[in-house]
């Protein structure tokens, strides 16, 4: 058991920090410090490409596909330095964290050649088409249909809550391709180009006033057969494999963003003397401890190479961070008081902490709600009986 990094790793850390700081002081200084997912999308796509050119886009990937074959320690370091330098989150996080690894694991050689270098180069932005109006937690109830016609899939139906679809190039969708099938059977995983007449995207306004997610309508939308991942009927297996990638190294970058939020909260508490209130001090200490435990939980999960047993740190990670962040949002409002409930501008737009308070209500919903996480933990982690399925 060892927590410290080697001297070579520390040199690598310096290299990352130097490059990132130079970029954020130079050509990309206008996007430094952005925390909102929807802000300056065009500039941030350019940033994705800059990362790609310099081979910093997907450093953990094999060199063949545009990565650097970076070690785990190096990936950890890059993620940490990325957030420390105030670089905004990756607009293509779905591409690099979900679509890429899925293609790497389940795609054909031809598909790897076609998609991976472009994702690593920041040229193809992906979004995720899983949820539907009738299929949320119960993803296996998807109804969006796909049928094969003259060597192409024709897709009809609707997805919802599709984050960043309005700025994406491609969408991966789980479709029902076997007529009359139910549940996890008869589903197929397709990669579809968004810019086509059969796909329409409409923004949905969220509680913080922003519109990060969308409704996505498919009306005889086309998908060439060679953009199917895996085989017909493999959709469920691939979707589940994809969800497992959600707990990768990127979690460490996400934690550095949380670090920045907690630091901002601490600064606010010092500025308005909330930091002298013993109850607030206890809660800030708890938040600090929780964040550190998240880091070490993630390092345990990433260091673990024994995949024969259920990894408790990995299984509990989503609900842990989501709940931590929701609590942080509530603590932020208790620190700010009423000053957090008003904003100077005339737009319904919020600074980091009030926005955190609003946005963090989504953290315990997307990617599997807290209730669904508890079901998974109880069933997979503790071996308790499965939820009975109804037939309504």
């Amino acid at each position: 058991m060892k927590l410290g990094f080697s001297a070579a790793d520390e040199l690598f850390r310096q290299e990352c920090a130097d490059w990132l700081n130079a970029e954020m002081a130079g050509e990309f200084r206008d996007i430094k410090g952005i925390t909102k997912l929807t802000a300056s999308p065009e500039r941030r796509k350019e940033w994705e490409q800059r990362l790609g050119e310099a081979k910093w886009g997907c450093i953990g990937w094999p060199e063949q596909w545009g990565g650097r074959n970076a070690t785990l320690a190096q990936q950890v370091i890059f993620a940490e330095e990325y957030a420390r330098a105030g670089v905004p989150g990756r607009v293509n996080h779905i591409g690099i964290e979900l679509a890429g690894p899925t293609i790497l694991a389940f795609g054909s050689e031809e598909q790897k050649r076609r998609f991976l270098p472009d994702i690593a180069a920041g040229k193809t932005i992906f979004c995720q088409g899983f949820s539907e109006p009738g299929a949320g937690s119960d993803l296996a109830s998807v109804r969006t249909k796909g049928r094969l016609e003259n060597g192409a899939w024709i897709v009809n139906g609707q997805k919802i809550w599709t984050s960043l679809a309005h700025i994406s190039d491609w969408i991966f969708v789980v479709t029902r391709t076997e007529e009359g099938s139910k549940g996890p059977k008869g589903l197929t995983f397709l990669m579809m180009e968004i810019d086509q007449p059969g796909i329409e995207i409409r923004g949905i306004k969220q509680i913080n006033g922003d519109a990060e997610f969308n409704e996505t309508f498919f009306t005889d939308a086309r998908c060439p057969a060679d953009s199917m991942i895996g085989a017909v009927g493999d959709g469920w297996k691939i979707a589940m494999g994809l969800l497992a990638f959600e707990r990768g190294v990127s979690t460490l970058g996400q934690q550095m963003a949380f670090r920045n939020e907690l630091d901002e909260l601490i600064a606010a508490a010092k500025a308005n003397s909330a930091a002298s209130n013993p109850l607030i001090r206890q809660r800030i200490a708890k938040a600090e401890i929780g964040l550190r435990l998240m880091r070490y939980g993630a390092l345990r999960m990433l260091s673990n190479t024994d995949h024969s047993k259920i990894d408790g740190a990995a299984l509990t990670y989503k609900i842990q961070w989501a709940t931590w962040r929701r609590n942080l949002g509530e603590l932020a409002m208790d620190v700010l008081g009423q000053a957090g409930e008003v904003t100077e501008g005339s737009e319904y737009e919020w600074d980091t902490l009030p926005n955190l308070f609003l946005y963090s209500r989504a953290d315990t919903i997307y990617g599997g709600t807290n209730q669904i996480q508890r079901n998974l933990i109880a069933e997979r982690g503790l071996g308790l009986p499965r939820e009975p399925r109804g037939d309504v």
């Binding site: 990433l302 069933e379 503790l382 009986p385």
Partner: protein, 356 residues
Amino acid sequence: MEFVFTEEQAMIGETARAFFAENATSERTRKAMAATGQDAGIDRELWTAFCQELGLSGIGIPESAGGAGLGLVELAIIAEAAGAQVAALPMLGSLALSAQALAAGGSAEQQAAHLPGLLSGAVIAGYVHDAGITANGSSLTGSAGFAAHGSSAQLFVVTSNTGAWLVPADAPCVTVTPLTTMDQTRPYARVTLAAAQGEPLADPAAAIAAAHRAGFVAVAAEALGGAQAALDRTVAYARERVQFGRPIGSFQAYKHRLADLMIEIEQARSAVYWAACAVDEGSEEAALAVHAAKSFAADTFFLCAGNMIQLHGGIGFTWEHDAHLYFKRARAIQSMLGSGEWHREQVATMILGEVA
């Protein structure tokens, strides 16, 4: 960076778990709980076997001081295994606190005189800390109410915030009063010093710091082991007990509570081994980590043990069932060596500064 056990560490864990599961049985623990006088709350045979046959008592003590080397990570592994069985042993007072204080702050002569006895189990030491203990030269006056396994100790390591001394239990002007204690696996004694002679440790600051670090980590690890055992035993019951025609573990209200316990335990596990590793590596995070580990793991254990009673129903409230052993041990760990509030206030001071 590799935050997993080495092969050697995994092996120590297996050995320790097997040893305690086989020997620290409920029956033997209850016999120790019922004992009085010098044997109150101690399974003597188990302690001798642990120190002499298993040979793990020197872990965390440098080889130069007669120990087995290694560090707090290994000590935590052992404390976790002992905690899982709520073993009735003087491990905390004698090894994690007193032996660590001696190894860090005792002179070579003091170490040579006392460590071999502590590590072999022939001598049991108690750790007495009270800020109000005053020293007039080497004459100590004061009283400390909560010396764990104090009635069994032949030697006390006495600390105030500024000094550390060795005081034999049978020295003149030393009174040891056994206290009927809620957690009978670790009964307290009140130690009163009325101008008793203390032998000062060579480096008191180092002794106190080492005892605190090791003590916080050891009780946190013990709490982790206890919490996991409380969860495991409840999960086993949830699978077998049937009500309303189905196993109670199939009810979502029940399942979700167990899931919540697992979520806390996973964090407590990160906390304990982060803290132990940070101390061993001399990381600058160590000071914060030991407070995090103690407060977080103690609260986790109490949450798990409380739920263990609730989720067993009536049987969980009986003396016969082991749930109360965990519950009482958990409560004791929350209070000892600084409350959760105190530890969190230390963290708050590190990140926010003192209260303005």
